[in-house]
C-alpha cells in the first residue's frame, strides 16, 4: 500500500489500472478528461497493458465498451455532463445487454446554458437505465469504488456507474491509499465468462429482436420475451442491495480499510434531523453536523452511496426516530422535486412514524454550498420539524433573492 496525494480523476484512473482493465475507450470532456489522459499515458508507457481506443465521441466510447465487453474483455470509460447525455442510447444498451462495465462520471451540470462546473444532474438523469449507481464521498472512495464496481458488475452482469463530483473531487488532490496490485488481484480475479459467449462453435445471436410474447426456441422450450428479460434485469439490480455491502466487506478484508456499503451514517442515533445527500456533500454535511452538535442541535447525516438500486430498507431503518430528513439534491426533476427526495419519500411512504422529508436543491452549476448556508438550512429544517411541518415547498440553498441594478 502506498499513500499518494492525488485528484479524484487520478484515483479513478488508479482504480481502472488496479482492476487490470483490458480495453479503455477515451474521449475528452471537462472535468473528466484527466482520467483518460492518465490512462493514455500509462498505456503508451507500457505501465498498463490495455487496448486504448481514442474514439470520436462519447456515443462511440460506450459503443466500444459494449463491443469489448461482449467479446469478453474488462472495459472502462469515463465521461461527464453532455458526454453522458450524448451516450444515453448506449447507456441503456449496455444495461439491457447485461454487460459488466464500469464507467466513471465526474459529475457536471448539463447545458444549456454552458457550465462546466459540478452538480449531479447528468448521472441522475440516467438513473432509470438499469445501472448500479454509486456516489463517492472522497477520492479514496473513488479508487475503492472503481475496483469494487467490477466485482459487483461481474457478479450480477449489470454495469456500474461510479459518480464523483466534478472539480470538488475530480480536480482536488487529497491523500489516497493505493493498495498493492497483489491485494487487488486477490480481491478481483480475471473477468468470468460472459453471459453469452462469442463462439463460432456455438453461434449466438446476441441482443436480437425480442417480441412481446414468449416464443419457443429450436428445442421447443418456451422462452421469456422482452418483459421477462426486463424483469430479470430488475431482479439482478435488486441483488446489488446485497452485493454492494458484501463486496465492500470483502474489500475491507483485502485492503484493511473500512468498507463502504449502501449508505453512510454519521451521528444519527439521537438525531432529530438528518441531512441526506450523495457525493462530496456527505463529507461536507458531516462537518456541518458536527458544528451544529456543538450548538446543541441534534443533527445527523445519511449519505446515499448507492442510488440505484435505491436502498429503501436501509434508509427506513437508519431514519427511524428522526423527525425530518432534509435532502440536499444537486439535481432536479424539473417540475417536480429533487431525485433523492422523491426516492426517499417513496421509500418512507406507509412507514409508521416516518420522518417528514424536506427537499432542498443546492450547488447547481457549481454554486458554492457553504457550511454557513448548510447550517442555516439545517436550523430552519429543525425548527419546521419541531413545529410539526409535514410538507414544505422546495428550498433553494444559496439562491440570490433578486437581481438588482447597481
Amino acid at each position: 500500500m502506498t499513500v499518494r496525494i492525488i485528484t479524484g480523476n487520478e484515483a479513478a484512473a488508479w482504480g481502472a489500472r488496479l482492476a487490470r482493465v483490458q480495453v479503455v475507450a477515451a474521449y475528452p470532456i471537462t472535468p473528466q478528461s484527466p482520467v483518460v489522459e492518465t490512462l493514455s499515458a500509462w498505456v503508451e508507457s507500457g505501465e498498463m497493458p490495455a487496448e486504448l481506443i481514442a474514439v470520436e465521441s462519447e456515443h462511440s466510447a460506450m459503443s466500444v465498451c459494449i463491443g469489448a465487453a461482449t467479446a469478453g474483455a474488462r472495459a472502462f470509460t469515463a465521461t461527464s455532463s453532455n458526454g453522458l447525455a450524448y451516450m444515453t442510447e448506449q447507456i441503456w444498451w449496455a444495461a439491457g445487454a447485461r454487460l459488466p462495465l464500469v464507467m466513471c462520471v465526474a459529475n457536471r451540470s448539463l447545458a444549456a446554458p454552458w457550465n462546466v462546473l459540478n452538480d449531479q444532474q447528468d448521472s441522475m438523469s440516467v438513473r432509470d437505465a438499469g445501472w448500479v449507481q454509486l456516489y463517492c464521498r472522497d477520492n479514496q472512495e473513488v479508487l475503492d469504488t472503481v475496483v469494487q464496481g467490477y466485482r459487483i458488475a461481474e457478479r450480477l452482469n449489470v454495469p456500474v456507474m461510479v459518480c464523483y463530483d466534478g472539480f470538488l473531487l475530480s480536480h482536488t488532490a487529497m491523500p489516497v491509499e493505493v493498495p498493492d496490485a497483489a491485494a487487488v488481484d486477490a480481491f478481483l480475479p480475471p473477468r468470468p465468462q460472459p453471459l453469452q459467449i462469442v463462439d463460432p462453435a456455438d453461434p449466438r445471436n446476441i441482443g436480437p429482436v425480442v417480441m412481446a410474447d414468449p416464443r419457443r426456441d429450436a428445442d421447443g422450450v418456451l422462452r421469456g420475451a422482452y418483459l421477462e428479460l426486463r424483469a430479470a434485469h430488475h431482479e439482478a439490480l435488486l441483488e446489488a442491495l446485497e452485493a454492494v455491502p458484501e463486496v465492500g466487506e470483502a474489500w475491507a478484508r483485502a485492503t484493511g480499510r473500512p468498507g463502504c456499503g449502501l449508505v453512510a451514517e454519521h451521528r444519527l442515533d439521537d438525531a432529530e434531523i438528518a441531512l441526506v445527500a450523495a457525493g462530496s456533500l456527505v463529507t461536507q454535511s458531516t462537518l456541518v453536523a458536527d458544528l451544529l452538535r456543538e450548538e446543541g442541535l441534534p443533527v445527523g447525516v445519511l449519505g446515499i452511496r448507492c442510488c440505484r438500486p435505491f436502498p429503501a430498507a436501509a434508509v427506513r431503518e437508519r431514519l427511524r426516530g428522526v423527525r425530518a430528513a432534509l435532502v440536499l439534491d444537486k439535481a432536479l426533476s424539473y417540475g417536480y422535486a429533487g431525485p433523492i427526495a422523491t426516492d426517499l419519500r417513496a421509500a418512507l411512504y406507509g412507514t409508521p412514524d416516518a420522518p417528514a422529508v424536506y427537499g432542498a436543491v443546492c450547488g447547481l452549476g457549481g454554486r458554492d454550498v457553504t457550511p454557513e448556508a448548510l447550517a442555516e438550512a439545517a436550523r430552519a429544517a429543525l425548527a419546521d420539524a419541531r413545529a410539526g411541518a409535514v410538507e414544505r415547498p422546495l428550498a433553494w440553498i444559496g439562491r440570490m433573492a433578486r437581481e438588482e441594478a447597481r
Partner: protein, 301 residues
C-alpha cells in the same frame, strides 16, 4: 475469379429466414459468410439484416452475431476487435460490421469515419439498397436522384452520397464496390479483405424488390442491369491502387458505350413518371462517374 461452382457448399444462412422474397441482401449475405468460412463475428445495427437474422429465441444465421444500436456499428465493431485482441482471439476471428445504407451514409457515418481514421481492424460492409427499406422505404443519403420514397413522394432531388469515395479519403487499406447480383464478385472481395488488416470497407449494391418496385423474381437481373448501365460500378482500391473489377472491368475492356439508364429505370416503379429533364440528369451523373472510373482504371489510381 472464383466460379459459382467453386464456392464452399456449406451455408451459414439458413433457408426460411425472414427476408422478403427476392431480397438481394439474402443473396449477398450467403456469399459474404461463405468467404468468411464461419470464422468471424458479425455486428449488425437496426436494419433489414436484423429482420433476416430472426427473432429471439431462434436465429437464421449460423455465425456469432452481436446486435448494436443504429449509429454505433463501426464503434461496436472496433470494441469487439479490441476485446478479441485483449483476450487473445483476434487471429481466430474476423470482425464483420454490416449495416445498411442509412446506417452507413447517414446515422453511422461518424463512428465509421472514426474507425477509419484509426484504421481499426475490421471489415465494414454496407449493403446499399438505396433507402431505409426496413422502416418502409424512406429516403437515405444513398437514395439516387429521381427515386420516389415515402419521404420523397415526387422523387428525390439530390444525387446519392458517394460513401466509397469518402472512405477512400480516409486512405484505408481496402475499399471495394460490389453487387449482390454477382455473388462470386462479393465472395472474392470479402475473401481478399479477410486476408488484410486494418479497416476494410466494402459497399454492396443490393437490389430490393419491395423498395424499388419490381417483381421479386428479377432481383439478380435488376442488379446486373444497374452495372450494365453504370448506375453501379464494380471496382476496388487496394492501398491506393484503383481498378475496375468483374463485369465493370469487362465493360471497360469492351470499349463500347454503356447501355442508357432508361431500361433499368423503367424496370422499377420508384422511377415511374420521371420527366425527361430528370432522366437526362441521371444519365449525365452516370456518364460523369463512368468516365471518371475509366480514367482512374487507366491510371491505376
Amino acid at each position: 475469379m472464383t466460379r459459382i461452382t467453386d464456392l464452399p457448399v456449406e451455408e451459414q444462412v439458413l433457408p426460411g429466414n425472414r427476408a422478403c422474397a427476392g431480397c438481394g441482401l439474402g443473396i449477398g449475405l450467403r456469399a459474404i459468410l461463405k468467404a468468411l468460412e464461419g470464422r468471424a463475428v458479425m455486428t449488425v445495427p437496426a436494419s433489414c439484416l436484423t429482420v433476416l437474422g430472426g427473432m429471439y429465441p431462434v436465429t437464421s444465421v449460423q455465425m456469432p452475431w452481436v446486435n448494436c444500436a443504429f449509429p454505433s456499428t463501426a464503434a461496436v465493431a472496433a470494441g469487439i476487435s479490441a476485446g478479441l485482441r485483449a483476450t487473445g482471439r483476434s487471429e481466430e476471428l474476423t470482425v464483420l460490421a454490416m449495416a445498411g445504407d442509412g446506417g452507413t451514409a447517414d446515422i453511422g457515418i461518424q463512428a465509421l469515419s472514426g474507425a477509419a481514421e484509426r484504421n481499426d481492424d475490421l471489415i465494414y460492409l454496407c449493403y446499399d439498397n438505396e433507402a431505409y427499406m426496413n422502416t418502409g422505404t424512406q429516403r437515405s443519403g444513398s437514395t439516387p436522384a429521381g427515386a420516389r420514397t415515402t419521404t420523397t413522394w415526387r422523387g428525390k432531388r439530390e444525387n446519392p452520397k458517394d460513401v466509397p469515395r469518402i472512405m477512400e479519403a480516409h486512405r484505408v487499406p481496402y475499399v471495394a464496390v460490389t453487387s449482390a447480383a454477382f455473388p462470386t464478385d462479393v465472395y472474392d472481395k470479402v475473401a481478399k479483405a479477410r486476408q488484410m488488416r486494418g479497416l476494410r470497407y466494402l459497399h454492396m449494391h443490393t437490389p430490393c424488390p419491395s423498395g424499388w418496385g419490381f417483381d421479386p423474381a428479377l432481383s439478380v437481373r435488376l442488379g446486373k442491369m444497374a452495372v450494365e448501365c453504370g448506375l453501379a460500378i464494380l471496382y476496388e482500391v487496394e492501398r491506393g491502387a484503383f481498378r475496375l473489377t468483374g463485369r465493370s472491368a469487362a465493360l471497360a475492356k469492351a470499349g463500347r458505350p454503356l447501355e442508357p439508364v432508361d431500361a433499368c429505370l423503367d424496370a422499377q416503379s420508384r422511377f415511374k413518371g420521371l420527366d425527361a429533364e430528370a432522366r437526362a440528369a441521371i444519365q449525365a451523373w452516370v456518364d460523369e462517374r463512368w468516365v471518371e472510373a475509366l480514367e482512374r482504371h487507366e491510371r491505376g489510381r
